[in-house]
Subunit: 197 residues, 2 copies
């Protein structure tokens, strides 16, 4: 193949979910389409990489520092919601049901992948909780193997802390079908069933 | 969301197969990973867009003009293989079974999508065949609805031309399973069965 196209393909292959074939398809698409659109894409990447950094307080991706959530005086400093990714902050925020602050771990604990306490910024999280005198921690991590490990680890590290800790409920998703749910989901839904009457 | 992240997401959404959700996921990945890798991606796009153009003779994407296939004196000028995309040239070339030249249509005829004869560069193709005194045309287009339409159209336009025309065989792919093939494939395989004895 042609070197400059190969270089583009290799750069695209670093993206998640983009393998050899997709990278080649994308590369040739980028070069086939109108040059204005492709230049715009290249510039959007460079521009955003330059402008976006992690918030010094909550660790989320942001173009201001501290981010708009951390600097908001309308949000409750005493409630802290722990998420994995910046995308989770936007998702939770879009529900309009949470008015506290966030903390982004960036990773989940995964010894197999060499991801330990440092990778989830545990020290920053503990200082954040102490420094701002947080009263309630809500752990909003995915109920996967790594998620559960991380949830337990954080709960352990906060064992002597005086505040409240909760985690998002697990169960059958809205619109989901019992028949097509997996056993663990149903077991969880049974275990955490809530009283109606 | 944050404007600069939104801009990146919108630019990524122009790529084929990348919807709203994937674009957001890619954007946040690009901004989460090491800045060097992301800058490299942005620069690879701008660099390749600057360097790569369509070959004046065969229309394929290339960083030289004419491309290495058209300027090769080792390849047979009298055999011309017609393909849809530049990627198809690389694919055919990797078989090591064809030593002629190529012509890239860039599109297939598709009246529904407003793609007519101009979009497949039919005039350039006909001049190419005349100017270089081509003796054999091999049509290597996908056997889809648009592919078949385009194959028929090109054959029609070459009806009065004196050279040979062929198209790639259709049938059950190597490693494919009869049971899981579709009816049209099997009908084609039957119709084009070849004598063994």
């Amino acid at each position: 193949m042609i070197q400059v196209i190969d270089d583009l393909k290799d750069a695209l292959k670093t993206l998640p979910g983009i393998g050899e074939k997709s990278a080649q398809r994308l590369a040739l698409y980028i070069l086939s389409q109108d040059k204005t659109a492709s230049n715009k894409l290249g510039e959007a990447i460079l521009e955003s990489v330059k402008k976006v950094n992690n918030c010094n307080i909550c660790n989320m991706l942001t173009d201001e520092n501290p981010c708009r959530f951390c600097s908001s005086i309308k949000r409750n400093d005493k409630q802290l919601c722990i998420v994995e990714h910046t995308a989770d902050v936007f998702m939770l925020d879009s529900t309009g049901e949470f008015y506290g602050k966030y903390f982004v771990l960036s990773n989940l604990l995964s010894p197999i992948d060499g991801l330990g306490p440092k990778d989830i910024h545990i020290d920053e999280l503990l200082s954040r909780i102490n420094d701002y005198e947080v009263e309630e921690v809500i752990i909003a991590l995915s109920p996967s193997v790594e998620g559960e490990t991380t949830i337990s680890y954080i709960a352990d590290r906060l064992a002597d802390w005086s505040g409240k800790i909760s985690r998002l409920s697990t169960g059958i998703p809205f619109g989901g079908d019992l028949e097509y749910s997996n056993k663990i989901t149903i077991a969880n839904a049974l275990k955490h069933r809530f009283k109606m009457k």
